[in-house]
């Protein structure tokens, strides 16, 4: 029921069911819709508390009704992700909408959060259904397999899914300290089996200046 209208607008057909979306991202709808802000992302008190602590406070609304609802956010490109029971890790600021049946939570990402300019925590989406994630420019989907680890600029990373281990690696060496930095001081290293979404644009990162 998720479909793209152009590359920057998400159309969701609802027949009495519901969808969770970033607060305020509705641009138009036909039919009858109700919009309800969800308390703490809709996972009860614990979810709310963890959200407060982690700073991954995406404000979510639940849209239910009959008809078609259109979502968009700051002209970002939208990518559809189908989940079949696995977990999707995504920065909260890049998550536009999910099927109401998908569970959302937060996980600790370690040091890389600080370097990527995002928080130390990231949002997880789990279950079976569809999610829509946003990128600045059209995102590419890169496969990681055991033989082929992948290094990603933290500022270009958007999301990943599958069985992946991630760690932050630094390319800082003597030269960098002497002021001859390559501008690529930190990378995220992914190992295992899965998919990584990368956008053709870089957020401001701590590592960018090194």
């Amino acid at each position: 029921m998720f479909r793209l209208q152009g590359s920057k607008t998400l159309a969701v057909d609802l027949t009495g069911d519901a969808v969770k979306a970033k607060n305020g991202s509705m641009v138009a709808y036909d039919g009858r819709m109700t919009f309800k802000k969800m308390t703490g992302g809709g996972e009860g008190l614990r979810g709310m508390v963890s959200r407060r602590l982690t700073g991954e406070q995406m404000t979510v609304m639940e849209v239910s009704g009959q008809g078609t609802c259109y979502f968009a956010d700051r002209a970002s490109e939208i990518n559809l992700v189908a989940l079949h029971g696995e977990k999707l890790y995504v920065e909260a600021s890049n998550l536009l909408a999910t099927d109401a049946g998908l569970r959302t939570g937060t996980t600790f990402t370690g040091l890389r959060g600080g370097a990527s300019g995002n928080g130390l925590f990231t949002t997880t989406v789990e279950g079976t259904g569809q999610a829509a994630i946003m990128s600045e420019g059209k995102a590419v989907l890169l496969r990681v397999s055991p033989q082929y680890p992948l290094m990603v600029d933290p500022g270009a990373y958007i999301a990943h899914q599958g069985n992946l281990r991630q760690q932050l690696q630094s390319g800082v060496n003597f030269r960098t300290l002497m002021g001859e930095g390559s501008g690529e001081a930190f990378q995220m290293r992914f190992e295992g089996d899965g998919l990584v979404y990368v956008q053709p644009s870089e957020r401001n990162t701590v590592g960018g200046d090194v």
Binding site: Q5, G6, S7, K8, T9, N23, G24, S25, M26, V27, A28, Y29, D30, M33, T34, F35, K36, K37, T59, M61, Y70, A72, D73, R74, A75, S76
Partner: protein, 216 residues
């Protein structure tokens, strides 16, 4: 005269002798042939009265007249451009979104507050858009700017469309608009979903919606 879309952010228009084109001042990117650009102090056609109307309405986007023979490329601020072809109906659009349009189209301003009563009056204040909107009527093409891509949603009797006022770009046809509220008691105390106001469009025509809630 039609506009040719070069890409999503640039259009090309062909000008021929005897034909006039209006464009937002400074929106010309390149041209071929013998083309002249003259600032249009009167703010389009319609003479003195129209000018005053424009001043009062705050719909006074500086325009220029494009005449001659050749082709002209238009674009502005990296915004997306949507070409809308009118066949006798009326287009409603905020003046600052107009990139270029056929000189044969009839220009006017319309007081949006007259539709929808008090809520119509409120609409301008809430949406940050003016209470007045420019109208273009007749047969011809209009190039309209938007932040992000644009989708066109048809409005048919019995199928109303609700639009986020900030994402609204333009509409055409026989359409009534009113500001509807989805505000309940909860929204008033700060637990809003962020979708408190919607522009409700009914009748028959089409509305253009941008993939962003930012103004130009």
């Amino acid at each position: 005269m039609p506009f040719r879309e070069i890409n999503s952010k640039m259009v090309e228009a062909t000008v021929a002798p005897g034909q006039t084109l209006f464009s937002q001042r400074g929106a010309m990117l390149a041209y071929r042939g013998e083309v002249s650009f003259t600032p249009n102090i009167q703010g389009g056609q319609g003479g003195f009265v129209s000018m005053i109307g424009r001043r009062v309405a705050g719909e006074a986007t500086p325009l220029m007249t494009v005449e001659g023979s050749g082709t002209v490329m238009f674009g502005h601020g990296g915004h997306h451009i949507q070409v809308i072809n009118l066949s006798g109906d009326t287009l409603y659009v905020e003046a600052d979104r107009l990139l270029a349009f056929d000189g044969s189209l009839q220009q006017g301003t319309m007081f949006m507050g007259s539709q929808g009563g008090v809520m119509g009056m409120v609409r301008g204040q809430v949406t940050g858009q003016g209470l007045f909107t420019t109208t273009l009527k007749g047969h011809g093409a209009v190039a309209v700017m938007a932040h992000g891509g644009v989708i066109e949603l048809p409005i048919t009797p019995g199928r109303d469309i609700h639009v986020d006022p900030q994402a609204y770009v333009a509409h055409h046809g026989e359409v009534r608009n009113k500001l509807s509220t989805a505000v309940g008691w909860r929204d008033m105390v700060g637990r809003g979903s962020g979708e408190a106001f919607q522009l409700e469009l009914s009748g028959s025509g089409a509305v253009y919606v941008q993939a962003s809630e930012e103004k130009l």
